[in-house]
């Protein structure tokens, strides 16, 4: 099973990020080997049974965002339709520019371009964008989507459009106001990179009259070059041209093929076989994720060199340590040094799964990434350094005997109850056992893993985690994972003596409007966490994909770790 699907199975939304493909070990190369031509049908083979969410406000997974955004849902701003670093840059889409903001970046305005229309021909208005964004607040109906809009925008106790009183609605209309074609967002806090936030499909327009709430997910109204012809979960999603879309109004989408056919529910072995065979319609197909046993076939054979890719996706895996329980850095260090990360990677599928992470920010966030100084004694080849770990434990016995004793008595290890993790936890227990640290395995039913560890009542010592930035700024990494206000802090580091200093530095970084300076601050904060080992870096993960011989412009779109579907074309 591919990484992405494991993540889906634990109920966690993999999010978009900006990743420069600079050092991704890319072996594939789908460069423009001809002029893109119009027409034809692109097939997308999928093991999944459906697109998690087609409703733009609910779409929050990398591959689905890339697919729906590049074909159906326009946003105020968009990532550039380009390969490599360039793809991580933002460009205006529905808006005429990438937004203007006031001095402290608390008020952002965008002006809509002329000629933008929905699939029924109606013009896309400022009110449609405002309405679409307002749906984010209806968190009981519009589930699974990103909540940046509601946490940034100053709309009081607005409950979303379905339940709002006239008063509440008026408050929202004030916070997100329309003046002709210009939409203005009033934020609670300064957000220097709000125009990156607006690349999220949550900022797509929705015509109020067409909103069917829960059911909008099955047939959203298109604002892009394609519209839904048919959608049968478990079978297929067919997109055809939206005749009311005009190229003039859309500077980013090339809209080359006449249609897309998303084929669901295929057996993974069958998908690989079809792609390898490259016959019939499969010549026009793309497929992400390859079965481990087929990787050598595809990557060791030059016959596939023009239709394969092996690159970083936006994801970083890591392990949360409960700093409250393990309030002693020596013990945390002993755990990290004793852990046989190479054995874990081997069990997970070897180098194709990714590289050993040196922190929580991936190199793709070029401005924010700097190779961290790792703890003394950590083996670069990922193997355990038992001696160093033993030394750390010895130091712990004098520095913090209670915590050392706790480690020897047994630390609770929370993880999803999946076969992959069954294997991994055995390696954990084995490695840590060599330095006298005992683990109590606590498998959790996969579908409730996150609610379980997010629950403050759950007293874990160790809990696995994984993260991808929501856009190309470590502001969506460091604060989210390691501050008390972050949505995903599982380290329970609030009582750490260094936390106050850390929080101050994070606040300063968030307010810094100079992006370059900000980047250096994130680099330092990443090192700050690595030094204290509130969490243990795991893997910078990779993804492999293959496409048919008649598919042009197939590349990994850095921000999503997925194909840029909207940029594909059928070779004549």
């Amino acid at each position: 099973m591919k990484q992405r699907r494991i993540i889906a199975a634990v109920g966690f939304a993999l999010v978009a990020s900006v990743v420069a493909a600079a050092c991704g070990g890319s072996s594939g190369d789908g460069s423009e080997d001809g002029t893109p031509t119009k027409g034809g049908t692109i097939h997308i083979l999928s093991n999944g049974e459906q697109i998690a969410h087609l409703d733009p406000q609910r779409n929050y997974t990398g591959d689905d965002l890339a697919f729906a955004g590049s074909t159906m849902h326009r946003t105020l701003t968009s990532y550039a339709y380009a390969q490599g670093d360039e793809g991580s840059g933002i460009v205006p889409d529905l808006a005429t520019d990438t937004g203007t903001f006031n001095d402290d970046a608390t008020v952002w305005s965008f002006t809509l371009r002329d000629g933008g229309t929905f699939e029924d021909g109606a013009e896309i208005t400022c009110a449609d964008v405002a309405y679409g964004v307002s749906r984010t607040w209806a968190s009981d109906v519009i589930t699974d989507g990103p909540t940046y809009a509601s946490s940034y925008i100053d709309a009081g106790d607005y409950p979303g459009p379905y339940k709002a009183t006239a008063e509440q609605q008026a408050a929202y209309d004030k916070a997100v106001s329309c003046e002709g074609k210009t939409i203005t967002f009033n934020l609670k806090v300064p957000v220097a990179d709000f125009n990156y936030t607006t690349t999220l499909l949550a900022f797509s327009p929705v015509p109020k009259a067409a909103d069917t709430g829960e059911k909008y997910d099955l047939k959203p109204v298109s604002s892009g070059p394609y519209k839904i012809e048919s959608y049968t979960i478990g079978k297929s999603l067919v997109l055809v041209r939206n005749e009311n879309w005009s190229q003039d109004s859309d500077p980013v989408r090339s809209a080359n093929p006449d249609s897309f056919v998303y084929e669901f529910g295929l057996d993974e072995a069958v998908m690989d076989e079809r792609m390898i065979k490259d016959a019939g319609d499969d010549q026009f197909a793309v497929s992400a994720g390859i079965q481990p046993e087929n990787l050598p076939t595809i990557f060791d054979d030059d016959a596939f060199k023009d239709r394969r890719v092996d690159e970083y996706d936006p994801f970083v895996t890591y392990t949360n340590l409960n700093v409250k329980n393990l309030s002693c850095v020596e013990v945390r260090k002993a755990i990290y040094l004793a852990l046989d990360r190479e054995a874990l990677r081997k069990a997970g599928g070897g180098p194709y799964t990714g590289d050993f992470a040196d922190g929580f920010i991936k190199p793709a966030l070029a401005l924010d990434y700097k190779k961290s100084t790792m703890p003394d004694g950590l083996n670069v080849d990922g193997t355990a350094n038992v001696e160093a770990a033993q030394a750390a434990m010895t130091a712990a016995e004098t520095a913090c005997p209670e915590v050392a004793t706790r480690a020897k008595d047994g630390l609770s290890f929370y993880r999803p109850a999946t076969p992959v993790w069954d294997k991994a936890v055995a390696i954990w227990i084995d490695s840590l056992g060599k330095v006298g640290i005992k683990l109590k395995d606590e498998p959790v039913e996969p579908s409730v893993y996150w609610p379980t560890v997010m629950n403050p009542e759950t007293n874990y010592d160790i809990a696995r985690g994984g993260w991808a930035p929501d856009w190309a700024n470590a502001s969506t990494v460091i604060p989210e994972l390691f501050t008390t206000s972050g949505g995903f802090n599982l380290t329970r580091n609030a009582d750490d003596p260094d936390y106050a200093e850390f929080q101050t530095k994070v606040d300063a970084a968030k307010k810094e409007l100079d992006r370059a300076k900000q980047g250096v601050m994130w680099q330092e904060l990443n090192q700050y966490v690595v030094d204290r080992l509130w969490a243990l870096p795991g893997t910078f993960t990779k993804v492999q994909a293959i496409w048919g011989s008649k598919v042009g412009n197939a590349y990994q779109w850095a921000p999503f770790g997925a194909f840029n579907y909207g940029d594909l074309y059928v070779k004549s």
Binding site: A9, G11, F12, A13, V15, E49, Q50, Y60, A138, S139, D140, V141, T143, D144, G145, P146, T147, P161, Y162, K163, D211, T212, G213, E214, K215, D217, L218, T232, I233, G234, K235, S236, E263, F264, G265, L266, D267, A269, V270, E273, R274, K277, A279, G280, D281, D282, V444, E445, P446, S447, V448, W450, P451, M454, N455, G487, F488
Partner: protein
């Protein structure tokens, strides 16, 4: 006989009620939380709580079950305000994973399963009974040995393995047929046929094996019956003896088992549907298991239970007609 049928139907209904209760309770007690599944990364406890109320999972299990039962007869409403919607009777719940009423989902996927089952069933009965009859009539000869090889292969090979092998060889390597892409027979009959032929054959050949064995053994047993000898002694032709005496006897147990097998298939030919990417009920249940889509799981399980229970009743009644000895006086 009439009272017998009334009684069987009555018990079947009681049984279904019990099945619905235990199914509902069993799935509800799984350690997954349907409310927690509705939101992703930023799943704050208050959002989960709000969704729990909206989905009705805040109520007691008994109350949930009562609402579920009521929904079957009266339909069910979900949510409030502008985003409210309802599932008409018979409602088996609403899938928040697929944004559709479970009844509608079953109505969409069931025909695929039904076409697959009916086609495969007809084929396997034809193959199974004819090879079994051939083996019985040529006991000990090469036909019998061939049938015996066929059955031992058929019963020992997993559908999954054979399905993939056939798919790889016929479709991907040899390219004789296009990759199956399901179309309703009313929309595009030739695509329908081309899609279904392989799953029909795989399912039929594998299931036929046990019917070959059943038919062969049943016929050989029947041929040793005194009444068959008396039939021959009457001067009847071989054809009539085989039809009225031997097959008649051999088919009685086959009808029973076939009825139950067929009902089981209607509940979802899970593996075959998965291998051949057929959007049927079995595949939907698998998806529901993976995604802990409780309403779909309960719904498909209930539908499968209805088929199996009704098949039992029908087989019991059919048995009475097939075998006069079990007819109630």
């Amino acid at each position: 006989m009439f009272m017998f049928i009334v009684r069987r139907v009555f018990f079947a209904l009681v049984l279904l009620l019990a099945v619905s209760f235990f199914t509902y309770m069993l799935f509800a007690m799984l350690p997954s939380d349907p409310a927690a599944l509705t939101c992703g990364k930023n799943c704050k406890p208050d959002v989960i709580a709000a969704n729990r109320i909206r989905l009705g999972y805040d109520k007691s299990l008994m109350e949930q079950y009562w609402l579920f039962l009521k929904g079957i007869f009266a339909g069910r409403d979900y949510g409030a305000g502008a985003a409210a919607f309802s599932c008409g009777a018979p409602s088996l719940g609403y899938s928040f994973g697929q944004h559709e009423c479970v009844t509608t989902l079953i109505a969409q996927t069931f025909p695929v399963t039904a076409y697959l089952s009916i086609g495969a069933f007809v084929l396997w009965m034809l193959i199974g009974i004819s090879t079994g009859a051939m083996a019985a009539l040529h006991k000990g000869k090469w036909q019998d040995r061939a049938a015996s090889i066929f059955t031992s292969i058929g019963v020992s090979l997993p559908t999954f393995y054979i399905g993939l092998l056939v798919l790889f060889s016929v479709v991907i390597w040899l390219g004789i047929l296009p990759f199956p892409s399901y179309e309703s027979p009313f929309e595009n009959f030739s695509t329908f046929l081309r899609t279904m032929i392989l799953p029909w054959l795989v399912l039929a050949v594998l299931s036929a094996a046990s019917y070959t064995r059943l038919t062969r053994n049943g016929m050989l047993e029947a041929m040793n019956e005194d009444f068959v000898r008396l039939g021959v002694a009457k001067g009847l032709t071989t054809r009539i003896v085989l039809r009225r005496y031997v097959m008649r006897q051999a088919l009685v147990p086959i009808v029973t088992i076939a009825g139950l097998d067929f009902a089981g298939l209607l509940g979802g030919a899970i593996i075959t549907e998965s291998v051949f990417s057929l959007p049927g009920m079995g595949k939907m249940s698998i998806r529901a298991v993976v995604e802990s889509d409780l309403p779909v799981l309960v719904g498909t399980t209930m539908v499968a239970a209805v088929f199996i229970v009704s098949a039992n009743v029908l087989v019991d009644i059919a048995y009475g007609y097939l075998d006069p000895r079990v007819r109630v006086k």
